[in-house]
């Protein structure tokens, strides 16, 4: 038996160590690479909130990330919004979109939920291709980063990096707070046994919808930040392959683990970086990782090693979960 205090202490040590690492990282690694990875890590964490804790597989999360990226890019570039307001606009747009999509999609479950979210997201992709303000194939380019609160020049790489890190940590903290709150307990109960949760008086639909909107808004935060980092909002952000990629990141790192999506995102982004010149091989390798993970490695990297690192707790016995969680 591990005592709660020991576990909390080791979690604290890990948290501090990781934050120190993140603060020092831009002095050793290329900041744009780190910022892109952090944005996608936040995106994957937002996705994991839905898949890992509510048990809903959304195959359309690119719509929220990409949609927010377009709104933020447009607000900052055309309307001249300062970056913080531009990001808020993107997040709000993603939340509204999430409310609409979630409202429709939670009528069905499992495989249907995945297909519905995929189809709705494809609608956003078509819209982004044809709408007048999105720039079609070119996307919105040369998005200005601007001055944060009118003071901090985000064109400075380090300033931008710490801003992105702050966005990531805020998003990550919101997710952790949500998962460990009474609300989080209820959504996990719904994941495990929805009829039972309903019979206990919880209105499962509302909980699911709220979790969906939160996940969409945080995916929007990731996309809005990414639009400022890369100074670009493009069709690839809303493409279905991006929706697939976030599933892959989460699966590789460990579905339902707090840090799994972060680890997965860094692995996939690193791989993409090294294979950038190799054309379709990125897709082929990603597909192969998908197949291998589903067949043999369903708990993901963090899911396998975390039990040995935090507290001397036993690894969850035997079977990797038959349910996605």
């Amino acid at each position: 038996m591990t005592s709660g205090a020991a576990k909390r202490r080791s979690t604290l040590i890990w948290t501090v160590a990781l934050i120190v690492l993140a603060l020092a990282a831009p002095y050793f690694l290329y900041p744009v690479f780190l910022m892109r990875a952090l944005c996608l890590a936040l995106f994957a964490c937002a996705f994991n909130l839905l898949l890992g804790y509510v048990g809903l597989l959304s195959f359309g999360h690119a719509a929220f990330m990409g949609g927010a990226a377009y709104i933020t890019a447009h607000a900052v570039k055309v309307w001249g919004f300062p970056p913080e307001i531009g990001i808020l606009a993107g997040v709000a747009a993603a939340a509204v979109l999430g409310a609409g999509f979630g409202w429709l999609a939670i009528r069905r479950q499992g495989i249907y939920f995945a297909m519905i979210t995929l189809a709705l997201a494809q609608m956003v992709a078509f819209f982004a291709l044809e709408a007048p303000f999105t720039g079609g194939e070119d996307g919105i380019q040369a998005v200005p980063r601007g001055h944060l609160f009118g003071l901090i020049d985000l064109d400075h790489p380090l300033a931008m990096y710490y801003f992105v890190l702050a966005m990531f940590l805020i998003g990550f903290a919101i997710i952790q707070r949500t998962v460990n709150s009474p609300f989080g307990q209820v959504i996990k109960a719904i994941r495990e046994n929805e009829p039972r949760a309903i019979s206990l008086g919880y209105r499962a639909e509302r909980y699911k919808l709220l979790a969906f909107v939160l996940s969409a808004a945080l995916a929007g935060l990731a996309g809005a930040t990414k639009a400022l980092v890369l100074q670009l909002a493009s069709l690839s952000d809303v493409d279905w392959t991006t929706s697939g990629e976030v599933v892959l990141m989460t699966l590789v790192g460990g579905v339902g683990t707090p840090l799994g999506p972060v680890v997965g995102a860094f692995i996939i982004v690193t791989m993409e970086n090294y294979l950038a010149q190799a054309g379709s091989w990125v897709t082929i390798i990603e597909g192969a990782i998908f197949v291998v993970c589903v067949l043999t490695f369903r708990r993901g990297i963090v899911g396998v090693i975390a039990p040995y690192l935090t507290g001397r707790e036993q690894a969850p016995a035997g079977e990797p979960s038959a349910k996605i969680s």
């Binding site: 597989l57 999609a105 495989i111 995929l118 379709s280 597909g287 993970c293 369903r298």
Partner: protein, 298 residues
């Protein structure tokens, strides 16, 4: 939607031409969603590789013609067998290992496979299309008085309708189909009656994949043969499947052709919405009848 009231009614030939395009697309939607429905019925997975297998069907016909000199007519039989056999290998080697797990893993596995297959074809053939000539017997067209009908397009509609009805007949009216439907309802019980259910599952997957490959052969002369042709169509087919519901064979056929027609009509009256109209209908159906038009509530 009211904006079409302000648009003058288009000339009849243009209207019929778009209706024809709609029916052609509808043929492919119907064939593909039929395959998805059969596979889903027995295996309980959504075959995300379906688009890639449709693309493989088109490429397989192209290989046969350009590398081996085997023409269109033999391809109609050879290609579904070859691609179906690849499907059988996939079921035996990979999908079978997921038995007893959450059905979403089947979706993820087949999604990964689709990425691998499409990536390999794109690596080898690029993203641009390869032409496939219409067989000599089906070239040209006929003037029907109210419109010009290219013979090949008429053939595609008639042939895919015939394939759909034949599939419906096999499943709903034959001994084999009865076993299949029984296994869909209660596989262990059917197995207890001495029917080899695992073999049936394998063959069913192969048949569903074969239907996708057949659609690919039919599509090869109309669209270009391209690595991307599968992913372009599969998401629309998913929406078609959500609209029709996966429970019914006839439902898959009707909603496939019907939505193709609606899409064609939209191109005439409100072209801006033609790429999204099926998704909008999906949203409306979810509001009114979440189980799908022909689906059973679960």
């Amino acid at each position: 939607m009211l904006s079409f009231l302000h648009i003058a009614v288009p000339p009849a030939p243009a209207l019929f031409a778009q209706l024809l395009v709609g029916l052609i697309n509808g043929s492919f939607y119907a064939l593909l969603s039929l395959g998805l429905a059969i596979i889903f019925g027995l295996l309980n997975i959504i075959n995300f590789t379906h688009g890639a297998q449709y693309m493989m069907g088109a490429f397989c016909a192209w290989f046969l013609l350009n590398w081996f000199g085997i023409g269109y007519w033999p391809s109609l039989i050879v290609v579904p067998i070859v691609v179906g056999a690849i499907g059988i290998a996939i079921e035996r080697l990979l999908l079978r290992r997921l038995a007893g797990l959450d059905h979403l893993y089947g979706l993820l596995l087949t999604f990964g496979l689709a990425l691998v297959i499409e990536g390999l074809f794109r690596q080898r053939f690029g993203s641009s299309g390869l032409p496939y000539t219409i067989p000599a017997e089906l070239q040209g067209g006929r003037n029907l008085g109210f419109m010009f009908l290219p013979i090949y397009r008429g053939w595609v509609i008639v042939f895919s309708l015939a394939v759909c009805l034949a599939t419906w007949f096999v499943i709903e009216r034959t001994r084999l189909g009865a076993n299949l439907r029984a296994a869909t309802e209660n596989a262990p019980l059917v197995q207890a009656f001495g029917i080899d259910v695992p073999r049936m599952v394998t063959l069913t997957y192969g048949a569903g994949v074969g239907l996708a490959a057949l659609a690919g052969v039919l599509a090869a002369p109309i669209y270009q043969v391209s690595p991307l042709m599968g992913s372009n169509i599969i998401i629309v087919v998913f929406a078609v499947v959500v609209i029709g519901g996966l429970g019914s064979i006839l439902g898959a056929i009707v909603s496939g052709f019907g939505l193709g027609l609606i899409e064609g009509m939209t191109k005439v009256f409100y072209p801006e919405a033609s790429s999204t109209v099926i998704f909008v209908i999906m949203a409306l159906v979810l509001l009114v009848k979440p189980a799908g038009l022909f689906g059973r509530a679960s």
